[in-house]
């Protein structure tokens, strides 16, 4: 039994016109503890829907997703999601944002502050503890969100295109940081992205997804032995493999036009 199991999961939406739209079509996936999985695909391929089902924000129309042997229930502190638009609370200071998840637990104030400062140091923002999110750049805000997620010591991090709103250089820097932090903290990560390079840099395995209906087309293992040099030969080789996985899809599609 794998740590995370997605078995035959489908998800249909009813669009405004009343027609049915299949976001996920009989998707199967297994993830081991401590693995870093990227769900990679264009918009509409159901990658965010799959993430939301695993995180407990949405329910599958059919099939079952389970974590650690139990069917996915309500969202809780063991599985924390990081969003593209950060989801920070702008009226709270950075430190109070990081403490958010600790408030429901029975932890004294001083200990809460200590934990918050520890994770702010980890993401290099201890100097900004008393700032408000609006005073920080996008990259810094996402670091606060990561610190907030790590502060509750979750087993799994779900990341929904967390770096999509950042500029290219900031994105690469954060990719390296998150990769190092998560391997250090031994978290299981499900990471949604539409950026091929990002997936190759981060993932242990890449689930390549295609739209209409949303399916996992293939799973590509990234065997880079921990070396994540964006210019090395192995990196480019895997990048090529991902490209060809998507290019096949295009060839399929052209048949319809003949």
């Amino acid at each position: 039994m794998s740590y995370i199991t997605v078995k035959d999961v489908s998800r249909q939406f009813r669009r405004n016109g009343g027609e049915e739209f299949t976001a996920l079509d009989h998707v199967n996936l297994t993830v081991e503890q401590g693995e870093f999985i990227c769900l990679l695909g264009p918009s509409g391929c159901g990658k965010s829907t799959l993430l939301n089902i695993l995180a407990g924000f949405e329910q599958a129309s059919s099939g079952q997703a389970s974590i650690d042997g139990k069917p996915v229930g309500k969202p809780n502190l063991k599985y924390v999601t990081i969003f593209q638009n950060y989801g920070l609370l702008p009226w709270r200071t950075v430190e109070k944002n990081v403490e958010l998840g600790l408030e429901g637990k029975d932890i004294p104030t001083a200990k809460r502050q200590e934990i918050a400062m520890h994770y702010l140091k980890l993401v290099g923002l201890e100097k900004f503890a008393q700032s408000h999110p609006a005073e920080l750049s996008g990259g810094m805000q996402q670091r606060v969100a990561i610190a907030r997620a790590l502060a509750v010591n979750p087993d799994i991090l779900f990341m929904d295109e967390p770096f999509a709103a950042l500029d290219a250089l900031t994105r690469m820097k954060l990719q390296d940081e998150i990769s190092a932090i998560c391997r250090e903290e031994k978290k299981t990560i499900i990471f949604v992205t539409h950026d091929i390079d990002e997936a190759v840099v981060l993932a242990d395995r890449i689930a390549v997804m295609t739209p209409n209906p949303g399916r996992i087309k293939t799973i590509i293992p990234v065997d880079l032995h921990g070396k994540r040099d964006r210019t090395c030969h192995d990196f480019l080789h895997i990048r090529d493999k991902v490209f060809s996985a998507f290019a096949l899809k295009q060839e399929d599609a052209t048949e319809y036009y003949i």
Binding site: A55, G56, F57, K74, P75, N76, L77, Y79, V80, T81, F83, N85, Y86, G87, L89, P90, W91, L100, G101, G104, H132, P133, A134, V152
Partner: protein, 255 residues
């Protein structure tokens, strides 16, 4: 500096137009005062302490009526916005009551509360209540969904979520409603104080009229305008600060 120039310029234009109107009309000073006559009247009101007393009385009533309306409307709006099915029942009622001028209720207000202090308070309350209620409800209904997800993820349940997440998350939009309500309520202050209040700027207006003191009347009108401007400026400042802190762009608009 620019601003002072603008204000000074517009005051000058006003004084010239006003003086020419007074000269061209040739009315008795008791019917239409000149700018100078009004200034003298204002001086009189100030030196006798009448104006200060009336301003104090009006502001006291205004804040009592406004603050109680705002607190109630925000609390109610938060709950009604959150429980959408409940709002579907209340919404038609609110839409019917909202366009009715608070002054229209006056006979019933007098019937229920008598004359004197209460009518002014109640009218200010009604004037401020609906803009804040509607702003709060729509702000809650259109809240950024990511806040909800964060709350669910971090184990913040109901009803805690309303105070801890929803209210602060939508507060900038409520603040815009607060700003709007302040202006509306101030407009109705005078009407409210005309129903038997024995002090306040509305009373001063009635009193000046009854005594054929058009200079006092005009001075009272100017005072109401300037105080309204100051209140508006204060709230605008606060609103801007809230928008900055929340990292939002202030809606631009002429107001």
């Amino acid at each position: 500096m620019e601003k002072i120039k603008h204000i000074g310029g517009s005051l000058l234009v006003l004084a010239i137009l006003w003086q020419s109107l007074a000269l061209a009309g040739g009315w008795n000073e008791a019917l239409f005062p000149s700018p100078w006559g009004t200034l003298k009247g204002l001086g009189e009101l100030l030196s006798e302490g009448v104006l200060a007393t009336d301003i104090g009385a009006s502001l006291g009533r205004f804040f009592l009526g406004y603050v109680s309306a705002v607190v109630l409307a925000m609390a109610l709006g938060l709950v009604l916005g959150w429980y959408r099915s409940l709002w579907n029942y209340i919404n038609p009622l609110a839409q019917v009551l909202r366009p009715v001028s608070p002054v229209a209720w006056l006979p019933f207000i007098v019937l229920f509360f008598g004359i004197g202090e209460m009518p002014a308070l109640v009218i200010i309350f009604i004037a401020a209540f609906f803009p804040v209620l509607l702003a709060t409800v729509s702000a809650v209904q259109e809240m950024e969904p990511v806040y909800l997800k964060v709350a669910r993820n971090f184990g913040i349940g109901q009803p805690e979520i309303l105070g801890k997440i929803v209210f602060p998350a939508v507060f900038p939009r409520i603040a815009t409603g607060l700003h709007l309500a302040l202006g509306t309520a101030w407009v109705f202050l005078v009407a409210g104080e005309m129903a038997g209040a024995q002090s306040g700027l509305g009373f001063l207006i009635i009193d000046a009229r009854n005594n054929l003191r058009a200079d006092w009347l005009m001075a009272a009108i100017l005072t109401i305008g300037v105080l309204g401007l100051l209140l508006d400026g204060g709230v605008r400042l606060l609103e801007g600060r809230i928008y900055r802190l929340w990292g939002l762009k202030k809606r631009s608009g002429v107001s």
